[in-house]
Every structure is written in C-alpha cells, then in structure tokens.
Subunit: 670 residues, 2 copies
C-alpha cells in the first residue's frame, strides 16, 4: 500500500514535458548560481551548528532553544564566511542556504546585515559610513533597526521618541516620554544587538525639527549589560520567528554624541544650526530595499509550502476511485495558479532589482529626478508587498487545506511556515496603508495624464506605464475579443483587457472621491490588481512570444510561457467583477474566462512536480515527511512522531489525574 | 496619551442604541442561562486548577504543561460536578465556562463525553448502553473515538483496520494490517483513554461484511499500561490544541469479546450468523451531532477573536487624523458583517437543535422517514461545517490583520485561536467533500422537483425548502427590484433574489454534469451559498419584520433585524458573481448592492462594542491585553511581557556567541 506513493511520485516526475534540470537552473539564476547553491546545501546539511540533526527536530524547539540556536547559526556562518573568504560569492551562498533553511536566521541576520547597514549607508554621510562600515562588515557591532513604537506601528508621523540636542555638551539626549513611545518588535534588540539605529523626533533649541535617525549603543560590547538609561526586554512568545529576539526599548535620558545623528540629508552644526532634509521621503527610502527583499522571502516560504502541498497531493490517494488527490479540481485549480504566481514574482524580481540599481547607481542624480524614480519604485514595492502578503497567505491556506489533517501536525512544516509568514502581512508597513498609497499615486498619475497629458519620464519602464495609453484604453467601452482562445494565443490581447479594466477601476475610484475613506476598499483592490497586472506585463515582455527566441531552452521557454498565460487568465478571472461592474466584460465573457482559466490549470496538472522540483528545496530544508522527494511519506512521518519527546510510555500524570477516576469499580465491572 | 483609550472605550459602549444587557441575555439563551453563566465564570475565574493565574500565562505553556494542565481541569471539573451534583444544570454550566476558557479542555472532554458516548448510544443496543453508560457518566472509563487512519482521513470506504471474528473463542481479533491503517489523530488516545470505539472492517467467516464499531480497551485502568497488542503514541506537536493528547493506535492481534461490537443496527450471533445494517448511512449518523456542536465552537472561538479585534479597533488610534482605526472602511466593513455572521449562526443553532430532536425523539420512526430526515440534516450540517469552517478562518484572518502587528504576539490570543481553529477546516470530514455531498443532494432534489415534481415531506422546514418554489424562481429571468432600498425594507425581496440566484447556480451545476470533477468548485460554491442563504432565511423568519412583535425588547429586536439585513446584503454581495454570470443581476444592481452593503456596515459602526460585549467573554477568558474591557490596553500588555520567562536580564548565550564577535576592537573603536 505504501509502495504506491513512491511509484506515483516517479511517474509524475517523468511526466514533466520540460527539462526540470534546465528550469531549476533558470530559477536559481543561472548555471553558476545553481552549482554554488547545490554545494552550499551539501555543506550546511550535515553541520550540526547550522542544521538540526535527527533525532532532534527544530520544529519541536522551545523559544529558548530557538533563540540560542539561531544566534549559533549566525556565529557559525560568520566562521564560514572567513573560511571561504577568498570566494566571497560562495560564502554569501552559504548564508543564503541557511536563510532558506530557517526564516528566523534569515530575519535575525538581515536586521544587522541589511536594515542597520542600509540606514547607515543611505542616510549617513561619507564620514559616518567610513566610521561604521568596517565594524558592520566584521560584526564587531551588531545592529538593529528601531522604528516601530508600541502605540504607532510604523506610522512615522506619530513617532514619540525624542532626541533633544544639548548644546552645552554637544550631545543628543534620547527619551521615551510615554509608554506608547516604547520601541516595539525591534528584531535583534531583545538579546543580541549592541547598537540600534533609532528614528526620533529631533528637538533643537526647544523646537521640533522633524525626524532623524540616530545610532544608539544598547549594550556593552564585552559584558552584554545594558548601557545607562537603556531599558530593553525580549518581546517573548510570538506566532512565528521564534529564533528572532524581537524586543522593546525605552530610553531614559540616554546621551549620544552629535556625530551619531545620520547626516547625509540633514545636518546639525556644533552651534546648533540645522539643515533639514530636502524631502522627508528620503528618510523612508531604506524601506524600498526591505520590501524588495520580501520577494525572496516569498519565493522561499510560499515556494516551500507549495512544494509540500504538491508532493503530498500526488503521493496521497483518496476517494471513490482511489485517485491521487491532486486530480481533484479543488486541488489543481488552486495550487497551479499559485505556482504560476511564484514564477511571476521570481521573474519580476530581476526587473525591480535593475530599477533599484538606477536609484542607487553612483553619480549624483538630480533630486527631483531621484524623488520621481523613488516614488515610482515606492508605488511598485508597496503594492507588491500588499499583493504578495495577502495572496501569499491565501496560498498558504490553500496549501494547508491541500494537506488535509496532516498540515495540523507541526512536523509537516506548514504550520511553521504560516507562523513565520504572518509578519509579512502586518509588519513593515500595514498592507492597507501601502496599497492605499499606491492607489493614490495611480489616481494622481491618471488625473495628470487625462487633465494635463503629463506623465513623468523615467529611466525604466514604470509599473504604471499603461497610463500613457489611458485615453485609448478608456475609449474602448467593452472587450472586443469574443473568443478567449484568441487572447490566450496572443497575450497582448489579454494584457489590453487587464489594462483597460484597471484603468476603468482607477477612474471609478477617482470619480468617487480621491483619498476618501469610503473608497478605501476600492483603492486597495485597484492597487492589488495593478500589481498583478504588472507581474503579468513583465512576464509577457520576457515570455510572451509563442515560440522561444534563440539561445533559450525551448521546453523551459514553453513552460514559462504557459505560466505567464495562466497568470494572465488568473488575474482576469479574479478581477472580472471589476470588468463586469464597469460594463467592460459581458456575462458570457466572464463565464468563458472562468472556463478557460480552469482548463489552463487542468492542462498543467501533470507539470506540478516538475514545476515545484525546480524551486530546488532539499528534504532537509522542507522538514516535512509528507513531502519526501522520493514519495515515501508514511514511514518517515511515523518515525518523526516516535522521536518526539514524551510521545510514548506511561502518561506522567496518570497516577495524579486519571487513575483516581478509572480505578474505581462500577456495577458493570468494565 | 494612554488615557485616551479607556475614554474611547466608554464612549463606544455608551453609543450602543440597544440594551447591551438585554442582548447579552438573548445571546446566553435567556435570563436564567445568563445568570448561571455569570456565576460559573465567577467560580472558575480564581480556581488555579481551572484557570492559570498570573504571573503564569497559559499562552506560554509547553506541550507537556498543556497536556497535564488540561487533564487536571477535567479532573477538577468532575469534582465540581459532584459538588454541585444537586443542580445538574449549573454543574453543566461550569463545564461550559471552562470550555470557553480553553478549547483544548473542550475538545478533550468532548471526545469522551460526546463522541464516545454518542457512538455507544446511537449504535449500541439497549443492553450495551446499560452496560457502559454508568461508567461513561462517572468517568470510570475514559473513551475516545477511533475513526481516522493515517492513509485515509475520514474516508470510511478505505478504512483498513480489520476485526476478524474468531468463532472458536467468540472473540474479535483487531489488526492494523499496514502502516496506513494506523489510527491517527485520535483525540484522548495519546495519554488518557482507557477505551476506544474503533471503526473497522468486519471479517466473518473469511468474508468482509462492511464496517462496524467496536469497543476496545487501550490501557489498564489502574496501572495506565497499554493492553496486550495495543501500540499507542502521542501525536506530538500540533498547530493548536496543545492540551489534547491526540494519538495514533496500532492493533496487533487484539482480542475483544463479541459483545464489544455495537449491535443496534447490525447483529452477530454466537454461531457467526450476521445481520448487516439496513443502510450504511446510520453508521455515520453520530457525525451529525458532532457537526452541530461545531456551531458552539464557532461562536466561542470566532466570537472571542471578533471581541479582541473590535476592542482593539476602538482603543487604538492611528493615521493622519489620529482617528480610531475602527473608523477605517477596511476595518468596519469587514468586521461588522463577520459579527452579523455570529448572530446568524447563533440563531440558526436553536433551529437545528430542534430538528435534531425530531431525529432522536423517543418512539420508533419509519426507517425511510428516518433516513430522509437524517439526509436533510446531513446536508444542512455538512454545508454548515463547510461555510463556517472557511468563512470562520477568513474572519480570523480579518481579525488578525485588524490587530496589526500586535496579533503576532502570542499574548494577544489571536494566534492561539487561529491554531485551535485550524482543525475545523480539515478535521471531521474534509470541507470540499462535505460541500460536494451537500451540493449533490441539492442537485438531486432540484432534479426530482423539476422532472417529477417530487420533494420529500419532512417534519421540519428543510434548509432547501426554496426548491419547492423552484419553477417560479427559475422563471424569473432577472431581479425585478430596481431600488435596493426596497429589498432592505422588505427582506423577503432580498430572500427571493438569493433563492433565485441559488437555484440558477444549482441548475447550472446540474447542467454541466452531475458529480463531475470539472464542476467540483462550482458545487462547493453552490453549497456554501446554500448555507449562507439558509442562515439568512432562518433569521428572517425570526427577525424579518420591520417592527418588534409583542413581548420582545424593541431595541434588541431592532439590532437583530439590522444584523439579519446586513447578512442578507453580505450574501448577495458575496455571491453576486453567480447572479451576473447567470444574467440575473445587471451591472447597476451589482454596484448598487455593493454600495448599500458598505452603507449598512457603516451605519452599524457605533454598535460594534455593544454587539461584541453581548458575546459575554470576560477578560480572563479572552487573555488578550490589547482587548481589555476597560480599554486600558498598553500597560497590561507591557506587564505581560515583563512576566514572560527570560524576557529581561543578560542574554544567556552572550559569552558563547555574541561576545567573541563584539569584544574585538576595530580601527574605528566604536
């Protein structure tokens, strides 16, 4: 009975009509990246300081074990960085492999390596960069990023922490004036960080001068004791990320030198004369790379869940005909579009990375130009976080249900992934707010285009480029395509429909009243759709042609083309109500889109294992016995349970609570 | 700053335009129930064996602590049952109060008190009931319910466990022939149960005779050691329900007397002659009360999450105007319809309980009649589980996001509730399968009605009663109502629209092909909508009139009427795509429904605290500092963190992993 599953798995793998190996290499970013990744996995796999070795199970860890083990991983990775120091690229690949193994490691290292570093470098002047970068590189300081406050999430406007300049001593004095001013959720501050970058209200000469970022030492670098005036605690138990020591921080008259205010955009002289930032937006610019990094988190976490659900879906048989559960429409028609989303996101990542390079390229950019580009990237990254966060949690729920009861076992990883993922929808800027901001930008640009025929010139293709053709699209009252198959053959037709529906929706939201609370949910939906369409358009530009261009593996191009088409159909189906409400789609078109969408999913049914194999997650990363690569799922699952502490043997509290009840003899003498 | 929140909370409470006290009493089931409930909460609140007392926090418990504490609660509740033995109703109320405090307690006690007991009583003959009931009542045996198998979820068709009759010894021999036959997830079996009811294939004289239920002893009642041939383990760590000792069981030649086969519907004589069940469906009848009990779990768990999100939503201020976050459309327009769902579900519960009484009433019912009634209740309870499970998890996600980052703290309970809830969507019958079964019944009845004008006569109003008027509804090509306000004033018009859309959708699914996999998702959606419409129709029959009838508090009737109207609009809005796909709704109607739906939510904005207060959850039950009844949320939240183990003080692994990095002195001497 349990021999069937491995056979099924092998047959599914053989059924892929593209080269899984070639697609894996594309996914990894090329042959070299792929080889390095494989080697990195081999190295970390058996390293007990990086990967928990059986019979211990990381999914069993207590909070204390998680916190310590994760710091141990960082320590070990830094050792390996040194060992492989001559090959920086490969050393970095080891870190990436551990990221994939543990989202907690990834986040805890990220707050120092990326958040802390980026603030110093994007907001500090040359001198400050020079002063700190060597210590950051060598982790002689461990940094964290103190923005959020207990009473204010990441709403910077309301930040209460103050940094008051003391002219006499040339210092700033930091203070948390209320309980709601307590810095909250600060990753790395609970147990690790020696330093923090802290955003505060700046008070100079009794006047509030807006926000600045300050470097504040939290702990003594040798003893680990807190510095004077610093009060810190670990945030305790969370829904996920048990390996990250999120903490809270209060400041009581903490003194730091003036030079610890980051001064690239604003400056404070010895005599107290202050030059404010040219535009407050530059202070949040550091959030753009943070949001772009979420793409990696998405493909890592959601990709793992999809691999688990997909493998279980072909290994498990159930129902009247004892079929593979993946054959049920409720399985494949939900999982395959989600898989296509992974490919869209991965493909868009390279586009956005290139855009970000424009923003951070050497050489001075005109400030207006800089802000235009930053604004465009802010809109793109904000709505990407919104769509990805929400659709990501929807996909995780699909995966969870696709694994049936077995997702309820902590040992099949889905629970852990969902817990870790949670922070993506509520941390780093509320999704509603981000999507609303993105919608406001779209409304603004559409208004500018329609009223004044204006649209900013950018060095890259804006995600809202369709606004350039707004008049033409809006003049089309209904979708002229009668046969959906035409639009599947020519994806530009599908793109046109999406652009038109989107523009109609933006215009509708604009007409209802810009920025009004009563259109908030409309705006959110519009921005979400904008992002879904951006992913599609970007993929069409890469894989939209029916035939592969020279130099790319035909089978890989073909599957990417099908992924793209499916994503387009998914998006049209998902937002067809917008099309219907605006009169752009007829009931017949809506029905037909649904039919073709389901058909396109079904046509890809046999590709699921190949498509998720290409994500390249080894079994030790997935940690889910029901998702074993070879399809042998049941024995390892039972084995995992047998290894769990206190899972067999006499019940410890039997004599205390059970025996007094059951030792009594009743009339029936059962 | 932190004084504002309590003021806001008081103002919100004062703004309720109905008597919160009267609504609370209605919710509790009447004055007497309400008083008893209050008293029960007072009793358990300070009992350290029932409710974890600060500074300890149940949300911090390890698995071992949860397992033991929960059994301790059961032990203590049984003591209190004795103490209050003269007032059985009140004793029972204490159990209910502990249920509300801990879903783990609720489930672990339920497997004995309800699942085990129901199987013995619904499937055992009089003699067997007599033999076991006294021991069940007095918990001299502790029972569990062994249905699910590792390889087969609850698909009974595929159950592999065998019970082979040994004529020579007049015994059955139980065997788990494969690893996939292992009984899995069995609540109470991991550490507690002395006995199990086990569903098995029955083998008599070498022939498979279908399923029967058997009582099997698992553990010695005095020593707690496993009985010969029994292999049991605890299932280990799960996503939730840490207090429940789910387990797995394998049988190796376990011998039980013939009299341990439950023989109400099937019989086995001493000589091996066997009378099979008249209809296999009776073997699953015990699942109906299980599914009905889910209604209570729903109002308990989802109601708590809604209370938490609602209280935090009015206590928290944020945004450009520093408004209460509940004022954002994205908050109230999602939370208030969810609250109306709670009232609909609660109201339907009494209707379904009365129906179930018809099924279980004394006196013999004609078998065909019995199966007709059971079939109807099966359809109703199955789709109720489907809708509730899924919409319930959607609501939890809404609540989670409504609490922003603070839902990510384990100390604000939302995470715990989501973990506990998870089992509702994947346990006790897969929702897709249940909804598909319900859809199949609807399609069957519609076909019978249209083709043969037949519809079974029942002693209660079927949830699919609208099929009686199918021809009339289906003859209406489009919704004649032009002003949605008309349908809000007269809810029967709204009901008509829903019935018509539903019938169109059933007919469409029927036309596409009965039972075909390609319409699986259509079927699921139809059954979901059927349930949403059932809830609405049931509430319309109770609260549909614009004015309160004599004898009921006018303010309470009025709010229940508005809850009903909102649920109707919600349902029409949610399934409006079915309406426009079938051409029943025009784009203008769809838009107008959406507008009125949002308006109806907005009009109820100031009622949120009254509506959730009426659920009656005390602070110690909610366990969420951000949801304190008095609105003072921030101080207790920080206090909770300070009480968490290892949350302050020097990092235990500082010298091992951090100091070696940070004690090094670099060129900058930071």
């Amino acid at each position: 009975m349990s021999l069937q599953a491995p056979k099924d798995m092998a047959a599914e793998r053989a059924a892929a009509d593209f080269s899984i190996d070639r697609l894996s290499r594309l996914w990894a970013g090329g042959d070299k990246q792929y080889e390095m990744q494989q080697k990195a996995y081999e190295i970390i796999k058996n390293d007990p300081e990086l990967v928990v070795q059986p019979p211990r199970n990381i999914l069993e860890f207590t909070r204390d074990e998680w916190r310590e083990f994760t710091m141990g991983q960082i320590y070990r990775v830094l050792q390996l960085f040194k060992e492989y120091g001559n090959d920086r690229e490969f050393a970095y690949e080891i870190g990436k492999a551990v990221n994939v193994y543990s989202e907690s490691f990834s986040m805890r290292f990220f707050v120092h390596e990326s958040l802390f570093r980026n603030v110093v470098n994007m907001l500090g002047n040359k001198e400050q960069q020079q002063k700190w970068n060597d210590d950051i590189d060598n982790v002689r300081v461990y940094g964290c990023f103190a923005m959020t406050e207990l009473g204010h999430s990441s709403a910077l406007r309301d930040i209460e922490t103050t940094a008051t300049f003391d002219l006499a001593t040339d210092e700033f004095v930091l203070e948390s004036p209320t309980i709601t001013a307590t810095k909250w959720w600060i990753g790395g501050s609970g147990q690790t960080s020696t330093h923090a970058v802290v955003i505060s209200q700046t008070v100079i000469n009794g006047q509030h001068k807006g926000h600045n970022w300050f470097i504040v030492q939290l702990r003594d670098k040798v003893t680990g004791e807190l510095m004077p005036g610093i009060r810190v605690g670990d945030i305790g138990k969370k829904v996920g990320h048990d390996g990250v020591d999120n903490g809270w921080i209060q400041f009581r008259g903490v003194r730091i030198p003036r030079s610890h205010m980051l001064q690239k955009w604003s400056q404070l002289e010895r005599d107290g004369s202050y030059t404010p930032v040219p535009n407050p937006a530059v202070m949040y610019a550091t959030l753009i790379p943070e949001r772009l990094s979420l793409i990696t988190v998405t493909t890592q976490l959601i990709g793992q869940a999809l691999t688990i659900a997909t493998r279980y879906g072909v290994a498990r048989r159930q129902g009247p005909k004892n079929q593979q559960i993946m054959d049920y429409q409720s399985h494949y028609a939900q999982l395959i579009p989600a898989i296509s989303f992974m490919y869209m996101v991965k493909s868009a990542a390279s586009t956005l990375d290139k855009q970000f390079e424009v923003l951070t390229a050497g050489g001075e950019m005109d400030p207006v130009d800089y802000l235009n580009h930053m604004g465009d990237m802010h809109a793109a990254s904000a709505c990407l976080k919104g769509l990805t966060g929400w659709y990501g949690s929807e996909i995780l729920e699909i995966c969870r249900r696709a694994c049936g009861g077995h997702a309820y076992s902590a040992y099949n990883s889905i629970g852990q992934i969902i817990g870790d993922w949670g922070v993506m929808t509520t941390g780093g800027g509320d999704n509603v707010v981000l999507l609303q901001q993105a919608a406001r930008i779209l409304i603004y640009h559409l208004d500018q285009k329609l009223e004044h025929d204006q649209y900013p010139e950018l060095k890259f293709k804006s995600s809202s480029h369709y606004i350039l053709r707004a008049k033409e699209y809006l003049a089309t009252p209904s979708w002229p395509v009668r046969e959906i198959t035409d639009a599947i053959r020519n994806l530009r037709l599908l793109e046109d429909a999406l652009n038109a529906i989107l523009l109609n929706s933006i215009r509708e939201a604009m007409a209802k009243g810009k920025g009004l609370n009563d259109v908030l949910m409309d705006c959110v939906r519009v921005a979400e759709m904008h992002c879904a369409v951006f992913l599609f358009s970007d993929a069409v530009s890469k894989y939209g042609a029916p035939l592969a261009p020279e130099g790319i593996d035909k089978s890989v191009y073909s599957i990417m083309h099908r992924m793209t088409a499916l994503w387009g159909l998914h998006t049209l189906h998902r937002y067809s109500d917008q099309g219907y409400k605006e009169g752009f789609l007829t009931p017949q078109q809506v029905k037909s889109v649904e039919e073709h969408y389901l058909e396109a999913s079904k046509a890809l049914r046999k590709q699921v294992i190949g498509l998720t194999d290409a994500f390249g997650f080894p079994d030790f990363v997935l940690k889910a016995p029901i998702a074993k690569y070879d399809g042998n799922i049941y024995e390892p699952y039972l084995e995992t349970l047998l290894q769990a502490p206190n899972s067999v043997g006499k019940t410890p509290y039997h004599d205390k609570y059970i025996k007094p009840l059951t030792e009594r003899v009743g009339p029936s003498n059962n």
